[in-house]
């Protein structure tokens, strides 16, 4: 349905053909009311069947909502999300610069990395890192040709937490590299020419002139990557990373309150996503994302959550998806 044209002012009366003032009859939009009512009825019916379902013990949901193990899981989830995103962003920038480099080896390696990490499921990567000890029972960092260095037992290092960090971070880097590359390429070549003409080296041009301007294009998707990461961390439960989903599943495996704990986890994921969405909108405002506004319109969710002006309907979808991932 195409949106009706909006008017700021709807006159209640206008001057008529004979010069006298004539009242204006507003258009009733009957089909809008009918469709709205139908959609609302379906929604209320779904909500009602969920809320009144005798098999869901809402008391238990409330009981487990602030259960210590759940709260601990939230912190781990946040920590994994933040650290994996940071790892992904830093590595993603490096990969993007490599991909745009004139050095064919760097270029090729970057392409290979991106192909490999985008071509394999993140779940496989998580399990791979978790089981790294099968390939390398010990990890050694030492000065070559000497015995000076450190040695770790791989199983001590590759906990669920570190496996999650590596798996999610390295995976994000592959996707993020493409975003950064697009951002860098979107910066006008005139900027590069001006930087060179002033006597900057290629490195200075990239750091001082191109990357800061590419940020305008890179930052908005970064927020989305983080929001998506918050929920992707739930995969970590296959390697027992002690995150929210792992802890929730450990509880329901003991007491069999599967639905109740999934609802608890979903509620927390939704809260985290909403907060992340709020900060994303701040970031976008900060970076004067004119380009972003062209492709996205303000969403309803953010208007209610914050007074921030720009928001994303995409983020609202993410909140809805947060529940879906877990169901």
């Amino acid at each position: 349905m195409s949106p009706a044209p909006r008017r700021n002012h709807r006159p209640t009366q206008l001057s008529g053909p004979d010069g006298t003032t004539v009242p204006v009859v507003a258009l009733k939009h009957r089909e809008r009311w009918i469709l709205g009512a139908l959609a609302l009825a379906v929604f209320l019916w779904l909500a009602f069947t969920m809320a009144t379902n005798p098999n869901i013990r809402w008391g238990k949901v409330a009981e487990y909502l602030f259960f210590p193990k759940i709260i601990d899981g939230i912190w781990i989830t946040l920590m994994i999300s933040v650290l994996a995103t940071v790892l992904g962003l830093v590595l993603g920038v490096v990969l993007a610069v490599m991909k745009l480099s004139a050095n064919p080896v760097l270029n090729w390696l970057s392409t290979l990395y991106i192909w490999f990490f985008r071509g394999t499921p993140v779940l496989v990567q998580l399990i791979f890192w978790y089981n790294l000890a099968f390939l390398f029972p010990t990890l050694v960092i030492k000065i070559p040709f000497t015995n000076v260095g450190y040695l770790w037992n791989t199983n001590d290092v590759m906990t669920g937490f570190t496996a999650a960090l590596l798996g999610l971070g390295l995976n994000l880097a592959a996707y993020f590299a493409e975003t950064v590359r697009a951002g860098i390429q979107a910066v006008d070549t005139g900027q590069t020419e001006a930087a060179y003409a002033l006597g900057m080296t290629p490195g200075k041009r990239m750091r001082k002139i191109v990357l800061p301007q590419a940020l305008r294009i890179i930052i908005p998707p970064t927020g989305n990557e983080f929001i998506s990461m918050l929920k992707t961390t739930s995969l970590v439960y296959v390697v027992a990373g002690n995150d929210l989903m792992t802890n929730a599943s450990q509880i329901y495996k003991q007491n069999n309150l599967i639905m109740e704990l999934l609802i608890v986890a979903s509620l927390w994921y939704m809260v985290m996503t909403a907060i992340a969405t709020f900060f994303q909108s701040k970031l976008e405002a900060r970076y004067g994302a004119d380009a972003v506004r062209l492709v996205r319109k303000p969403g309803v969710l953010l208007k209610t959550v914050s007074a921030a002006k720009s928001a994303t309907p995409r983020a609202a979808d993410d909140v809805a998806a947060a529940g879906k991932d877990l169901s």
Binding site: D188, G190, Q191, E193, A197, L198, G199, M200, Q213
Partner: protein, 271 residues
């Protein structure tokens, strides 16, 4: 030409260098794929001289200008700028290709003003001017800032120093770009159609800034379609066509009494 330093304008190059050749090109060629853009350019600019390059679009004049500060490579011929072979260092009977540092050091001595201004979009006018002073010349922040304000004052934009490029008119942006290039104390200034992207009413303010610069004795190479400017300011006008200079001389000769048919045909269209 009269190169007396005028008050408020940049000082002229030292008299000892007067007459020294800043640019010496002979037989410079360049191809993009199968298309030969430069077919053999012979060109000289002496110190303190203002050289205007005119000619039809696509004749290779911008490409040649970009060769002068090594933004573009040339295929063959000799190109000496400030007595240095552009892109190569001559040592022990061999030409060694420049590394990135040598390119950067060379370009930092040559000012360039672009058709599309190319101001850094994430910086204010002042930061645009100060940026290269800090990054390339290693000025401390306060000194770079003071110098930037001084240069912006010279082009009459002191009170706009805090504005971002998109808040400035095209003419103002181009004047910031001129200030940015001058802040580096260039030996020579290159202008690549500096007024072609401007609304007609904004052209004069940029030309005035360039005239002031010429009066102060700056060595300038200007690719332009502004015949009035060329007539008034240029010491030498070069007519460029099909990748080479067809005719050179004082503006009174080349623009008023062209000897070559091609020059005459071109001038008949633009004048």
């Amino acid at each position: 030409m009269n190169a007396q330093p005028t008050e408020g304008i940049r000082k002229a190059s030292p008299p000892a260098q007067r007459g020294k050749l800043h640019v010496q090109a002979s037989g410079v060629t360049k191809s993009f794929g199968n298309h030969q853009v430069l077919t053999g350019v012979d060109f000289t600019v002496a110190s303190g001289e203002v050289s205007c390059i005119v000619g039809p679009s696509g004749s290779g004049k911008s490409t040649f200008l970009r060769c002068l500060n090594a933004l573009e490579t040339y295929d063959d011929g000799t190109l000496l700028v400030e007595g240095r072979h552009v892109g190569y260092e001559f040592r022990e009977g061999r030409y060694y290709e420049w590394n990135t540092k040598q390119f950067a050091a060379f370009r930092s001595r040559i000012g360039m003003v672009f058709q599309r201004f190319n101001l850094f979009g994430h910086f204010s006018a002042e930061e645009n001017v100060a940026c290269a002073l800090m990054e390339v010349r290693g000025f401390p922040k306060a000194k770079a800032r003071a110098r930037a304000l001084e240069e912006l004052g010279r082009v009459g934009l002191a009170e706009h120093s805090h504005k971002r490029p998109h808040q400035l008119s095209g003419g103002q942006q181009q004047r910031v770009a001129i200030a940015r290039a001058l802040a580096m104390d260039p030996e020579i200034m290159l202008f690549d159609e500096p007024t072609s992207a401007l609304d007609p009413e904004l052209v004069d303010e940029v030309l005035e800034a360039m005239k002031a610069l010429a009066r102060a004795g700056m060595t300038m190479v200007v690719v332009t379609h502004e015949m009035g400017f060329a007539r008034e300011v240029a010491d030498t006008v070069h007519f460029f066509d099909e990748g080479a200079i067809v005719e050179s001389g004082p503006p009174a000769e080349v623009l008023a009494n062209p000897r070559k048919d091609r020059t005459r045909a071109f001038l008949a269209k633009v004048l």
